[in-house]
Amino acid sequence: MPLLMLVLLTLACARPYDVQPAGVGTDRPEPVFPDYRDVTIPCNIAPLNFYYTDPDGSRFTTTFTSSSVTVTRKGRDVVWKEKTWKQMLAAAAGSDIEVASSYRAAGETVRQTWTIHVSADPIDPYLTYRLIEPGFEVWDDLEIQERNLENFDTRNIADWRHAGNHCMNCHIHAQGRGDLSMFYLRGAGGGAILNRGGKLRKLALNDTTMISPTVYGEIHPAGRYGVFSNNIIIPAIHAAGGLRMEVFDRNSDLCVADFDENRLYAFPETAREDVMETFPVFSADGRYIYYCAAPYLHLPADLDRMMYALVRVPFDAETGTLGAPADTVWSAAQRGKSVCHPKASPDGRWLLFTLADYGTFPINHRECDLCLMDLATGEILDMSVVNSDKSDTYHSWSSDARWFVFASKRGDGLYGKPWFSHVSPDGTVTRPFLLPQKNPHFYDTMLRSFNVPDLGNAPVGFDAEVIETLWKDVAAEPFE
């Protein structure tokens, strides 16, 4: 009994979590974090747990009302039981959840109301991302995780424990497919890990005639080919405070990998020394390759003039060759911005890319914003509701093209986190919401970035232990 008393006393005396600093000018400028006010969410998302940020607030009450369900939560931390949340979502699908909150601060009652719109469009239930400290050149303890967006289940699909602490690059799905994806395991025993229909292969996607191994790329929708860039990447740093690390290419080209024939194809038209090419992806139908291209400049001296245009070139999926001519889709010279990371929506309607003032490292460029192009008209749509005053980039589409996820450094400006937006058939995008976590204070202590969040409609059929076997026991298939 005395021990029990001691435990109870200790619990009673425990200091509550300090939410300072908060307010304008901090990384928690909004009254609630994550800020789930007036957002649109999918009808299958995990509970939106959040907390109130006012350090002086007390007696918090939050009431959620949908057509047939009302739920009230008391306390600074608003944490849902999954079952109750699912009932709320089911009742509100296609409509709104009305939220009314009140709390006491500075002797007054603060009242707020907002809505959460529950879209009838579900989101692909799986999200992969690499967890990495925003480091510089070196790494330690990397993990690639797969998160179930319908709850809080998370599992490692590759990690340092099972891969000799080697570097690994981010995992990408082809058109949101869980059965068609890849990532790189670097270093000794590494290779490109290709997941095709549940069958895993380790590929040596390099060729001595190329300037470097393959770096950025994407798998063709039919699964036979991959398009990649070869980049000689130079890390550097800005002298001015707050601009941090910069990365640029000393040289870059494109190549196509034929996964059936184990062949790599380079092309004279993209191997020119006076033009740099990077970030290649396929169009939704696989008949084109989009990539970014810029004239060669002396770097890093001319880095702030290094602007990449968005280019499209025909691709012949019968022969694995590029057609002609290359077509400039978005001119950097005319617009004075640099395009990065184009991504075609799986329905062929949209192209989402990022715009930075210069260069190819948008994740560290505060000005970097997402840009949505209607491929039917070439029109650029308004994304002001999505973008922030910090870097917004590294996006991917859901398999039905109704949702996209992107990494944003909004708030602290240092750590990328996954945010989701809905796109309606007319191109209207919605205010994004942050990946919900079981503990609403999760992001307060998180010291790693969610790198290249990528949506999948099914779980990938492997885990870190399977990757370990592949790393240790399987030789990488050579490519010619």
Binding site: D27, P134, P235, A236, I237, A239, A240, G241, D412, L414
Partner: protein
């Protein structure tokens, strides 16, 4: 557990617990800095032993320098460094830093082991040890170069045993306070506010809570920062120092670091180009200039005045040269008299390539 056997067992257990407690007390008394560095890294003693091994006198001395440098207690760092010349890069790194912060880097540079430029700036890269990386940012923060101070704090956090630790979080908070990026700083301050041991430190750095002394500290650091942007390689140490000096030519610590870097790498052309006698002076620099002038044919009164060459330094140089020539470049008759001169370093110090 009744009877005599039970009592004996209890007594044995109590004695074992007492012995373990006593052993722990002795350990803590003998290795206070090991414990403090573990605390700075946010790990228990058990975790520290696992990460760093069992401490000995040498590691305790180095950890003492690391801990006291974090407190900016430079006289204590010097005192610890002087206990014994460790002939290690980290030991020299902190000895140099402590001397620099007390305005005597060039005056003391030749008094102890110098592993060339690696005693000024610790290498940060795939071949660096976690301990080197953890310490590498201290010099950049002291010099006022926040981009590399922040980088190294981030990497220190990354390579620390638990991937956390108030030592790195405090540095990350402070570099961002200096930069003026309070959105970034607030992330770290919130974490520190929720730590019993760092709560007060963080509270004193919240907006509106800055003491006049802290305001002055931040203002001084901001005064050192580059006023323009330039993109450079991570390992372009001299360029980073020159950027600092372009922003603030009176940053004597940065100037001394640059000049000592030039001298330790035996780059006399760079040294002469970087040397501004109006901002710093030392017998070390006089010695280096004399080598340069002798080689380039500038041994005249005008240069002696410009570079503040003392007559005694010139006399000593002539004596060094005469012995050096007489003995066909052998060191044996120079070591006792000139072993702590730059001339001796310049002619006889050789890099251990294995390191």
């Amino acid at each position: 557990m009744k009877g005599k056997g039970g009592r004996i067992l209890l007594a044995v257990l109590a004695a074992a617990a007492l012995a373990a407690g006593l052993s722990q007390c002795v350990f803590l008394v003998r290795h206070p800095y090991f414990r403090k560095l573990a605390a700075q890294n946010g790990i228990s003693l058990r975790e520290a032993r696992k990460a760093w091994g069992k401490p000995d006198k040498v590691s305790e001395q180095i950890m003492g320098m690391v801990v006291e440098a974090d407190r900016e207690n430079w006289p204590k760092v010097s005192e610890l460094a002087a206990e014994r010349d460790l002939k290690s890069e980290i030991g020299t790194y902190y000895y140099n830093l402590a001397n620099a912060m007390q305005g005597r880097l060039p005056d003391r540079l030749m008094d102890y082991y110098q592993p060339f430029e690696r005693g000024l700036f610790l290498p940060v890269g795939p071949s660096s040890t976690p301990f080197q990386i953890a310490c590498a940012g201290d010099v950049w923060f002291a010099l006022g170069y926040m981009p590399l101070a922040e980088r190294d704090a981030m990497l220190g956090l990354l390579f620390s045993p638990a991937h956390t630790g108030p030592r790195y979080l405090r540095r990350l908070a402070e570099t961002n306070l200096v930069i003026g990026d309070f959105e970034a700083a607030s992330k770290y301050l919130r974490i520190l506010l929720n730590s019993r041991s760092d709560r007060q430190w963080a509270q004193e750095r919240l907006p509106g809570h800055w003491s006049p002394e802290y305001q002055l500290r931040i203002a001084e650091k901001r005064n050192l920062m580059p006023q323009f942007d330039l993109v450079h390689g991570m390992d372009q140490t001299q360029l980073a120092l020159r950027v600092l000096l372009t922003a603030n030519a009176t940053n004597k610590t940065a100037l001394d670091y640059l000049l000592c870097y030039d001298l330790l790498t035996k780059d006399l052309d760079a040294f002469v180009a970087d040397f501004n006698p109006a901002y710093t002076a030392s017998r070390l620099y006089e010695e280096a200039i004399l080598i340069f002038l002798a080689a380039k044919g500038g041994m005249n009164e005008e240069n002696f005045v410009h570079y503040h060459i003392a007559p005694q330094t010139f006399q000593d140089f002539n004596r060094f040269v005469s012995i050096y020539k007489r003995d066909d470049g052998a060191a044996r008759n120079l070591t006792a008299e000139f072993g702590k001169s730059y001339w001796y370093y310049f002619y006889f110090a050789a890099k251990n390539e294995k390191k």
